[in-house]
């Protein structure tokens, strides 16, 4: 059996991995949903075709993240989920709407198709907003004040922008012609909004939270960490330049916006984890205190070691199968 301390670190690393993979993967397909046009069926079809083979597996990372919290840190899981009762219910509503709309739009009567498209878009928006809202409440340590809810709403808008950004990056990479051109425009706009969002959260977070302030300004490694926000800012600026170039010449590295966005996601997420580590419920509960029974977690670990590499392997395989520009999607 492994020591409790080791298991706590390992399971929090796994949980962090699941969350960031979820944010990137489901982020792009939610982003595509947010960008879905209401009045252009061929474009909507192609956009949905680009995420068709993936969305289901992407969403599974959320189940894994929640599952890991449930298994490894049950006390934290129940504190967080009870505090977020209503936003979670709304998020689930969004996820349900989106997931079923994807299948219904292709099979239901033509006159209902547009309704399902709207459900798809609305579901994606609700999911993105509520996830941001919950992130905001988490950062504010679930404090129920007006300021805290305003901040959460701001964070919700930030996550909509972030998912739109990565969704547009995905479309630039996977589509051509008209859709790619519009995606470049959407990408530039959401790049700007996401930049403002990141700036706002980065400034507010250390101001309101003494622990976060110490993490960034008060320890020996703080100095080493400070370049991170700078690199993040530089990436936003590079992104903007790349998009201008892409607009003039569509064959210029169409994968770049997606790749840059993934790097931005990674940096922001790392910053967030660093801000709160080792707390799993900010200011209340650390990963070491919240840990479940080590013997149960050791039993679980065998599966993790054997299965997670396999999951990564066949996920990569599936992306290779559907590599390249999206073609029409039909059930075969």
């Amino acid at each position: 059996m492994f020591s409790a301390e080791y298991l706590a670190l390992l399971y929090s690393a796994l949980m962090a991995l699941a969350i960031i993979v979820y944010a990137v993967l489901d982020g792009y397909d939610l982003g595509v949903g947010i960008l879905l046009p209401g009045n252009n069926k061929p474009a909507a079809d192609t956009m949905i075709a680009s995420i068709g083979p993936f969305w289901d597996a992407n969403e599974t990372w959320l189940v894994l993240a929640v599952g890991l919290a449930l298994i490894a840190f049950p006390t934290a899981h129940s504190i967080i989920l009870q505090a977020l009762y209503l936003p979670i219910a709304f998020m689930l509503l969004g996820l349900i709407l989106r997931g079923v709309a994807f299948d219904f739009r292709a099979k239901a009567k033509t006159r209902y198709r547009q309704t399902w498209d709207r459900c798809f878009k609305l579901g994606s928006l609700i999911t993105a907003f509520t996830q941001g809202y919950m992130l905001g409440l988490y950062v504010m340590s679930f404090e129920h004040s007006l300021a805290s809810h305003l901040f959460a709403a701001l964070s919700g808008v930030g996550v909509i922008a972030a998912y739109t950004l990565i969704g547009a990056g995905w479309l630039i990479m996977k589509c051509e012609g008209e859709i790619q051109n519009s995606a470049i425009r959407w990408c530039r706009l959401s790049n700007l909004i996401a930049l403002l969002g990141v700036l706002a959260v980065s400034m507010v977070n250390p101001l309101i939270n003494a622990y976060v302030q110490t993490r960034w300004f008060g320890t020996e490694i703080s100095l080493l960490m400070l370049p991170l926000p700078l690199i993040c800012m530089v990436l936003f600026i590079i992104q903007d330049r790349v998009l201008v170039k892409l607009n003039q010449n569509p064959s210029y590295g169409c994968w770049l916006p997606f790749a840059i966005t993934v790097m931005i996601f990674l940096l922001c997420f790392f910053g967030l984890v660093y801000s709160f580590f080792p707390y799993v419920v900010p200011g209340t509960l650390t990963i070491f205190d919240a840990l479940a029974d080590p013997s149960a977690l050791t039993f679980m670990l065998y599966g993790v070691v054997l299965v997670v590499p396999a999951i990564i392997g066949y996920t990569l395989f599936s992306y290779r199968v559907f590599w390249g520009k999206t073609q029409d999607l039909s059930y075969y």
Binding site: P53, L64, L81, I96, A292, Y332
Partner: protein
């Protein structure tokens, strides 16, 4: 009074009832698809591919509904039942975790290849992807039924200050009721999917669909139903005997036995009354219940009065059991008669086709009734005999739970209606499609 506990229970029951409808179909439908695809690879006959194409659409829709309603439940453990994970988490956590790791990812990823990848991978790899999805759905059932069975018949644990710790994982996973429940559920899924397939195929035939595919799927599904429906009766009986051994109070409620009896009768009908603790309007076959449960016509069956305050509400368990068995018997009759007619005359008369359309969702009703028997039959306990459900509930205000409950119920009503309508719409649509091209175009594909 609508308190948080009651509302949370209604909400979880609504969610899980809605959820189970879809996996019940997909677990077995996936294996039907493997069979269709395998036969196509083997024979090269286009009709197998047509059957595959039609049913893969229904599979995709059903699977999506199963996924989204399943995600809801993984959150509800935390939002509404925090005590569940705090006390049972060391057992339930790894079992749920293994379900996510070994089943969910595999299903979801290979589903993409199965649905959209036929032009992009080799035929053999595509069949393999279909097989992996089928294995995934079955593995998922394996883990979740292991957990459910553990709650019914807990073994392999130690209990310290109200918290469960694992002692022997083999005993936990293969707990005494697991094998019975797992096979009972797999057969339930096979029957639900076959009656769905038979019903929709019959509907297409009634709508004058003269293609070969619906005739073929009618034959395949009726063959499976005729073989497995009688077997389900047998497995169900073994499952009942297992329950009699481990949860006698549940069986007492199923049989409507109040006082401990030797030579208890089998009640075909009765109206159990919890106030007077007696039955009204009994229609009974003497000594049969004792004979079935103890293999002795004068065997003893413990009555509900021995478990006062700790037995389940009698009416839902009693009637749920009768609905399940009644529909089960009906399914056996319909499957045998229809399969026999098909064998004799190689076609079905209109009245039999209509009967099959009526029976399209019979598997759903029997499965739900069966789950109500086993789950309500475990009340008032979460872990049989050890932890009561009321100990585990959330502190969230009841108005919030009421709000979300109304939201879920409204959404589920819309989705269920849309699902059923879409199934029949897809069937009608298939009728109108011209006879398919029978010569392969590029890459062995048919259009």
């Amino acid at each position: 009074m609508l308190d948080t506990l009651l509302l949370s229970r209604i909400q979880f029951a609504a969610n899980i009832s809605f959820h189970i409808l879809f996996p019940t179909i997909t677990i077995a439908l996936a294996w039907f698809l493997v069979f269709f695809k395998f036969r196509y690879d083997q024979t090269g006959e286009a009709v197998w591919l047509r059957a595959y194409r039609f049913w893969v659409k229904i599979f995709a829709l059903t699977f999506a509904l199963g996924v989204v309603s399943g995600i809801t439940m993984s959150f509800q453990f935390g939002t509404n039942w925090p005590g569940f994970m705090e006390r049972i988490g060391n057992i339930a956590g790894p079992l749920l975790g293994y379900e996510v790791l070994t089943a969910f990812f595999m299903e979801a990823t290979f589903l993409g290849i199965m649905l959209f990848g036929m032009k992009r991978v080799s035929p053999r790899l595509h069949t393999f992807a279909t097989l992996i999805v089928a294995i995934g759905t079955t593995l998922s059932a394996f883990w979740i039924l292991s957990l459910n069975s553990w709650l019914q018949t807990p073994t392999g644990y130690t209990l310290v200050d109200g918290v469960f710790y694992p002692k022997d994982w083999f005993e936990i996973i293969f707990n005494p009721s697991f094998g019975y429940r797992f096979f009972h559920m797999l057969l339930a899924s096979a029957l639900t999917a076959s009656f769905l397939m038979a019903g929709i195929s019959a509907y297409r035939l009634l709508k004058e669909d003269h293609k070969h595919a619906p005739k073929l799927t009618l034959k395949v599904s009726l063959t499976v139903a005729a073989l497995l429906a009688p077997m389900q009766m047998f497995v169900g009986d073994l499952h009942g005997l297992n329950t009699f051994e481990h949860q006698p109070q549940k069986v007492a409620a199923m049989e409507g036995v109040w006082e401990t009896e030797q030579g208890a009768p089998l009640l075909l009908f009765a109206l159990p009354d919890e106030q007077t603790r007696t039955n009204h309007f009994e229609v009974a076959i003497p000594k049969l219940a004792s004979l079935i449960l103890t293999h002795d016509k004068d065997g003893e069956i413990k009555g509900l009065n021995e478990f006062k305050g700790e037995h389940p509400p009698v009416k839902p368990v009693f009637f749920g059991f009768r609905i399940m068995v009644g529909i089960g018997v009906l399914m056996i009759l319909v499957a045998l008669v229809a399969r026999y007619t098909l064998w004799k005359h190689s076609t079905l008369p209109t009245w039999q086709l209509k009967a099959l359309v009526v029976m399209t969702f019979s598997g759903w009703i029997a499965t739900l009734a069966g789950w109500y028997v086993t789950e309500i039959g475990r009340q008032p306990f979460m872990v049989n005999g050890l932890v009561k459900i009321e100990e585990l509930v959330t502190t969230v205000p009841s108005e919030h739970v009421l709000l979300t409950l109304i939201g879920y119920l409204a959404l589920y009503a819309v989705l269920l209606t849309a699902y059923i309508k879409t199934l029949f719409y897809t069937a009608r649509n298939a009728v109108q499609v011209e006879e398919y091209q029978t010569t392969p175009v590029q890459g062995g594909q048919y259009v």
